[in-house]
């Protein structure tokens, strides 16, 4: 099970992020997770939303460069050592992680870790073999 992530190119100038959230807010899009990778000159906003296709349409209409990438979402307990367990497995299997970020998903204390790895099918196989739960949406 893969998660659809939307990436948006942002210049490092005032108001760009606000503009994205305005587009999403008025389009009635619910944000599930968000992270930004930034460099000196630009940033890449990464979003998990409830309706990826509709979000893409809205962003493109507003003139943003955006694209959908598949990532792995792993459900973990929100407890010390939760992430460590997955990292250990990835490390043992030699999986190279490009980036990751996390989101709390409910009041029961479940969290989801979003992983971007080089070979997503390979990574997903490892997650599932280890008995961890990969989700497609949350």
């Amino acid at each position: 099970m893969k998660v659809k992530q939307i990436s948006v190119f942002l210049e490092n100038t005032t108001g760009r992020l606000a503009e994205v959230t305005r587009v999403l807010g008025t389009g009635n899009i619910n944000l599930r997770a968000i992270s930004i990778a930034d460099t000196a000159d630009f940033g890449i906003l990464r979003l998990i939303v409830d309706t990826p296709e509709k979000t893409m349409e809205l962003l493109k209409k507003a003139g943003f460069t955006a694209k959908i990438t598949e990532v792995i979402g792993v459900l973990v307990n929100d407890k010390p050592g939760g992430l460590m367990k997955i990292m250990d497995i990835f490390n043992k299997e030699g999986v190279n992680i490009e980036y990751l970020y996390s989101s709390l998903i409910n009041e029961e204390g479940d969290a989801v870790i979003i992983f971007r790895v080089e070979d997503i099918d390979h990574g997903l196989g490892i997650v599932e073999k280890a008995g961890l739960k990969a989700i497609s949406a949350f």
Binding site: D41, I44, F64, A66, K67
Partner: protein, 428 residues
């Protein structure tokens, strides 16, 4: 020489020139015939306006020898323009042309107070570019010692400057400031050097930049003007008054025209600078449109010279940019972006000189969906690739900035490709 004597000399030379090119250069004969003008029609200096202009495009189209007026064997030296738009412009020098070049360039050095006691550190590039050898000949003419060091290798420049006690530095104004930065890093102090004059040209610069150069390099900075099409360096130069560049008008006849209509404008009016080479034998040029904007004036110059002056350049009449002394056309940038598979030619150039006196050139390239990635390293890879390709194609390093699509202002018709924030117009 009185004004009348100068005009008489110019007229005599002009008549000879027109006869010479009419009988020796097919290109001019055709143009004169098409314009219905014969050499015998030139009776006064004013009659020069009957002659057709020569453009840079025509000089390119006639590459390599279409404008040659002499036997190719009579050429003793050949240079080409630094223009990087493909076909270069050719300048051919006979022995007499080279003597002439030596003379006019020597005068320029003399205007800056140069003589046989000087050590000229010539940091203009030697090679096909006219800057290096032109200045070299001038230094020979005044009997100075020359350090033919060419451009680059800045640390060595500074060490030699100190060790050989250079008194005159010749290079682009921005390179002189770069030298100042490197000297600072090396813990060197220009006050301990022997430099007293710098003769700077090949790119536009402002009075503010002059103040900065004079302060940082502890010398007097002179503006020099020249172009390959006409001779190279040596067309005009500032004297001690630093108020306008004296034109060597006995060799290069200047006019200012309205760039739209081609009409000759009176002295004092701003327009496009046009030159006719009065004495060249190899590649004589009739009414060359320089595309440089300035005006001509005469004053009772404190240096005693009575030659006509041109104000330092106010700008250019076309879209060519001079970035760190290198000619760059927007079309070149477009070509590179089109060549790179991932990118589209949606770009803008922002030139600034506010932070340091070196041109800071930023190339804004729109991020297309075709190469956008969720990973920063992929975008950085594209950015670095653009940087490398531009450097290869243009010869200078541009800062590449990736921008959001459509963030570059689209205008109706001609896109606004260049945002020039440099203040090079000075008091004008």
């Amino acid at each position: 020489m009185s004004r009348e004597e100068m005009q008489a000399l110019q007229l005599k030379k002009l008549k000879d020139l027109v006869t010479y090119v009419y009988s020796n250069v097919e290109f001019y004969k055709k143009k004169f015939d098409a314009a219905g003008v014969k050499p015998s029609d030139i009776k006064t200096l004013k009659d020069i306006s009957k002659l057709p202009f020569t453009t840079k495009d025509e000089m390119r189209e006639t590459y390599p020898y279409g404008l040659l007026a002499c036997d190719p064997e009579a050429l003793k030296e050949i240079h080409t323009s630094s223009g990087t738009t493909g076909t270069p412009v050719v300048a051919g020098y006979t022995e007499n042309d080279r003597t002439l070049w030596k003379e006019v360039m020597g005068r320029c050095l003399a205007m800056a107070g140069g003589d046989e006691h000087d050590v000229v550190q010539n940091a203009y590039g030697y090679g096909m570019f006219t800057g290096g050898l032109g200045v070299h000949y001038g230094a020979e003419a005044i009997g100075a010692s020359v350090l033919p060091i060419s451009s680059g290798n800045t640390k060595r420049q500074l060490n030699f400057m100190k060790d050989f006690k250079s008194t005159i530095l010749t290079c682009t104004p921005s390179y002189s400031l770069f030298m100042a930065e490197v000297a600072k890093e090396m813990g060197m102090d220009f006050r301990e050097f022997n430099l007293r004059a710098g003769i700077f040209g090949a790119e536009p610069w402002s009075d503010n930049m002059r103040i900065e150069i004079e302060k940082k390099l502890n010398l007097k900075a002179y503006d020099i003007y020249g172009l390959t099409e006409i001779i190279g360096p040596g067309v005009s130069c500032e004297c001690e008054a630093q108020n306008g560049l004296h034109i060597n008008e006995d060799y290069f006849y200047p006019e200012i025209i309205n760039p739209e209509t081609g009409e000759v404008l009176p002295e004092g009016e701003k327009g496009e600078l046009v030159f006719t080479t009065l004495s060249r034998e190899g590649t004589p040029i009739i009414r060359y449109r320089t595309r440089d904007i300035t005006w001509l004036f005469r004053d009772n110059c404190s240096c005693g010279r009575s030659t006509v002056k041109m104000h330092r350049l106010l700008g250019r009449n076309d879209d060519m940019m001079i970035l760190r002394g290198v000619n760059v056309f927007p079309s070149q940038i477009e070509n590179v972006l089109m060549r790179i598979e991932e990118t589209e030619p949606h770009y803008q150039i922002v030139i600034d000189r506010s932070t340091s006196s070196l041109d800071h050139v930023e190339l804004h390239v729109e991020v297309e969906e075709s190469f956008f990635s969720d990973e920063t390293k992929n975008l950085e890879k594209i950015r670095d690739m653009i940087h490398e390709e531009m450097k290869q194609a243009l010869g200078i390093s541009l800062d590449i900035k990736l921008v959001e699509p459509k963030s570059i202002e689209r205008s109706m018709g001609k896109a606004k490709r260049v945002i020039d924030k440099r203040d090079i117009k000075g008091e004008a």
